[in-house]
């Protein structure tokens, strides 16, 4: 390739490179530097070595409880979201009329997502005086404190994430369409049931899509913030105090930017190790077609 073609190529990707350097690499590098300082927005950062990391790992009484809350949240939200996405993808993977309309309708919540407005709507729906409890009372059920009781609040928040399963569903749908029909036909000739087909053909053939969705949803769920912040403010009794809320409180509540940077790098390393281990073990449960 001649030099002119190479420089043209670089010219084409220059806007992205500039964007990445300014809005990606520079903030990343700066936050890593700040994580070793006591920077607090209004004071000049002073180098404090690993003090922030020691503080968060050994002294901060909120770090590990918030990590535990986040872990529980991820363990509920990710499987529920993937199962819902797969269920609806399989429903939509049939030859039915107006399939595109249905796909669009099921994708809509993903566009709205866990935005602030939807979170506020969630609060009105699930509060003790909300729509869901009103409906329950009409059919003679006792009201359920979905958001007010520490036992239910985190689960209610996960529903907000599960609801927006559209993007995972579209990936599953694409994966389902890739599975050769002959496999199902051969299985039926052998007299297999639908359930057996699902576990022996659909799931293994779909495992690369499942793995991709799993990784993406794990990364996203560990960084969930809006729902918990808008709906419950982390309560009741810190039962929905996700790690990102802790990070936000340190950065914009206590203005400890250096410490908040350390928290964000801690979360990054945690997610990185988790993702790395999943990749290492993926050959055990992901089947790639030759």
């Amino acid at each position: 390739m001649n030099k002119k073609r190479i420089s043209e190529g670089y010219l084409y990707i220059l806007p992205w490179i500039i964007g990445f350097l300014v809005f990606g690499a520079f903030p990343l590098g700066t936050s890593l530097y700040y994580s070793f300082t006591n920077f607090s927005m209004f004071n000049r950062p002073k180098f404090v070595g690993f003090a922030n990391y020691v503080q968060l790992l050994t002294k901060d009484r909120e770090v590990w409880p918030s990590m535990w809350v986040t872990f529980k949240y991820v363990m509920m939200a990710v499987p529920m979201k993937l199962i819902s996405a797969l269920f609806f993808a399989m429903l939509l993977n049939r030859k039915i009329k107006f399939i595109n309309v249905f796909t669009t309708i099921y994708y809509l919540p993903s566009i709205l997502g866990a935005s602030v407005s939807i979170s506020i709507l969630w609060r009105f729906m699930f509060s003790l005086h909300g729509l869901v409890n009103n409906i329950l009372s009409k059919i003679h059920f006792q009201p359920i404190p979905f958001l007010e009781d520490p036992r239910y609040a985190l689960f209610t928040l996960t529903l907000l994430v599960v609801w927006s399963f559209g993007s995972s569903m579209v990936i599953f749908l694409a994966g389902l369409k890739q599975i050769p029909r002959e496999l199902y036909e051969a299985a039926r000739v052998d007299g297999s049931s639908r359930v057996r087909e699902f576990f022996s053909i659909t799931l293994p053939m779909l495992s690369p899509s499942i793995f991709f969705n799993l990784i993406m949803q794990l990364i996203n769920s560990f960084q969930s913030f809006t729902g918990a912040w808008v709906i419950t403010h982390g309560g009741p009794v810190k039962s929905t105090y996700l790690f990102m809320m802790k990070l936000y409180d340190e950065a914009f509540g206590n203005f400890k930017m250096g410490y908040a940077s350390a928290l964000s790098w801690f979360l990054f390393v945690f997610i990185f190790i988790g993702t790395f281990l999943l990749f290492k073990k993926s050959n055990k449960f992901v089947y790639y077609q030759e």
Binding site: R123, E148, H233, P236, F255
Partner: protein, 446 residues
């Protein structure tokens, strides 16, 4: 051809982007000043401040005021980020409890202007002696100017409390919470005596009021908590009983309306008796009552028998600061506008009582003359003064420190949900708060 057209189009767009801003600015006359003006509050305050800003622009056509207003939630976070970035509104509402930290930061980087440098533009005669010194002057610098006085107040819904024959002028104690609640519940179990607050606000108000009234001591002296574990146990026990007896809805529900207490359906639908707040929130609370608006009144603040200090304090109401990033011209115009709001009779009428009781006597007289002196605000102000001059949140309002506030609200929540005994909560509170106070001392006195 197509390629050339695209290149020309990109050039035209780039040029227009670059110069668009310049054109907007050059559209203003050379003597014009644009001020960004921000505050927090509810609808009635937003309307009042916008009316004042519009009138000021009519009187001073060279000044353009852009109003940036919001609710209380998130105001501080947004403001501080703007201050750190040097793009805060030139004139913004501040809080008297934030000035200490802003003064500390100013050691390295000024956050707000020292308003004493504009002494000729300010009418200092409206301020009673000592008011500025004890509220807005730090290290000899006037960091903000108040325009009003504010005090704690309780709005009551007579449609609820008439059911138990409540005497609206009576003095009542903390035991009253249980007595009146029990009487209401005997009539209808769905009724609550108090509409309630979040754990963070209960910590600053009822919890601290209880301790101050019991001990007569401020929250901390020389960065050491003034309350013994036994005092704290008593205060936590009071709160445990407060929730168990159903004085308010369960804490989990109250948290959902944090900062917007009057939006709680129990208040709106006339199922709770009283709502605690400030003089400046009376309008919002009453307006939220909808069908029960005409039934609103104010009652006295609770003071325990044998109280050593009433806790309640008439404080400066809304205070405004000028951002350090404002240019000299902008700062001068911002101070002139602020002084106009704080002293001018017409401004006083436009602002009504949305910011509390005006400090300026002329503005008070103008409000009375215009029939805008809401008798409920006047009555609540009188009740606050009757309660006596208390210690309030104490010097530096350390209880409002974000981390101390978090400790308090966590432990109150645990007690409210019966996840911790008052005794254990008291021990943990004492240990965690004292440790945090030590950290704050190091940070503030270095």
């Amino acid at each position: 051809m197509k390629k050339r057209f695209l290149i020309c189009l990109m050039l035209v767009l780039s040029v227009s982007f670059v110069f668009a801003q310049g054109n907007t600015e050059s559209a203003q006359k050379s003597g014009d000043v644009t001020l960004r003006f921000s505050w927090w509050g509810g609808d009635s305050r937003h309307e009042a401040y916008m009316a004042a800003a519009n009138r000021y622009m009519e009187l001073h056509p060279n000044v353009h005021i852009i109003c940036e207003y919001s609710g209380w939630d998130g105001y501080k976070e947004k403001l501080y980020t703007q201050l750190a970035g040097g793009n805060a509104p030139q004139l913004f509402q501040n809080h008297y409890t934030w000035l200490g930290e802003q003064s500390n930061w100013s050691g390295e980087k000024d956050v707000v202007k020292d308003l004493s440098q504009y002494k000729d533009l300010i009418d200092w005669s409206i301020y009673p002696e000592g008011l500025l010194e004890s509220n807005v002057i730090y290290n000899g610098k006037t960091l903000a100017l108040p325009g009003s006085l504010n005090a704690n107040a309780i709005v009551a819904n007579k449609a609820v409390l008439d059911k138990i024959g409540f005497d609206y002028n009576q003095n009542w104690t903390f035991d009253g919470f249980f007595k009146f609640s029990q009487q209401l519940k005997a009539i209808d179990p769905n009724l609550y005596f108090e509409n309630g607050m979040s754990a963070t606000d209960i910590h600053i108000f009822w919890f601290l009021a209880y301790l101050v009234q019991k001990t007569g001591l401020p929250f901390a002296t020389d960065y050491v908590l003034n309350y013994s574990v036994s005092d704290l146990t008593e205060a936590f026990t009071f709160l445990q009983k407060y929730f168990t007896a159903g004085v308010t809805e369960p804490l989990g529900t109250l948290e959902l309306y944090s900062g917007n207490y009057s939006q709680n359906p129990k208040w709106v639908s006339g199922e709770s008796g009283i709502l605690f707040g400030m003089l400046s929130t009376i309008d919002t609370y009453v307006n939220a009552l909808g069908d029960y608006k005409d039934q609103a009144t104010v009652i006295r603040l609770p003071v325990m028998e044998g109280s050593k200090n009433p806790y309640y304090q008439v404080k400066v109401g809304q205070i405004f600061s000028v951002a350090a990033s404002a240019t000299d011209k902008e700062a001068e115009e911002a101070v002139k506008f602020l002084n106009w709001m704080n002293t001018d009779e017409e401004a006083g009428v436009l602002l009504k009582l949305s910011r509390g009781i005006p400090i300026s006597q002329a503005q008070n007289d103008a409000l009375s003359k215009a029939g805008l002196m809401n008798p409920m605000v006047v009555q609540a102000y009188q009740y606050a003064k009757d309660a006596g001059s208390g210690l309030g949140e104490g010097p530096g309002a350390l209880i409002r420190n974000n981390e101390i506030s978090s400790i308090g609200s966590d432990l109150i929540s645990k007690v409210a949900f019966n996840m911790m005994s008052p005794e254990d909560a008291a021990k943990e509170y004492s240990s965690l708060v004292n440790s945090k106070l030590k950290d704050i001392k190091v940070a503030q006195t270095k």
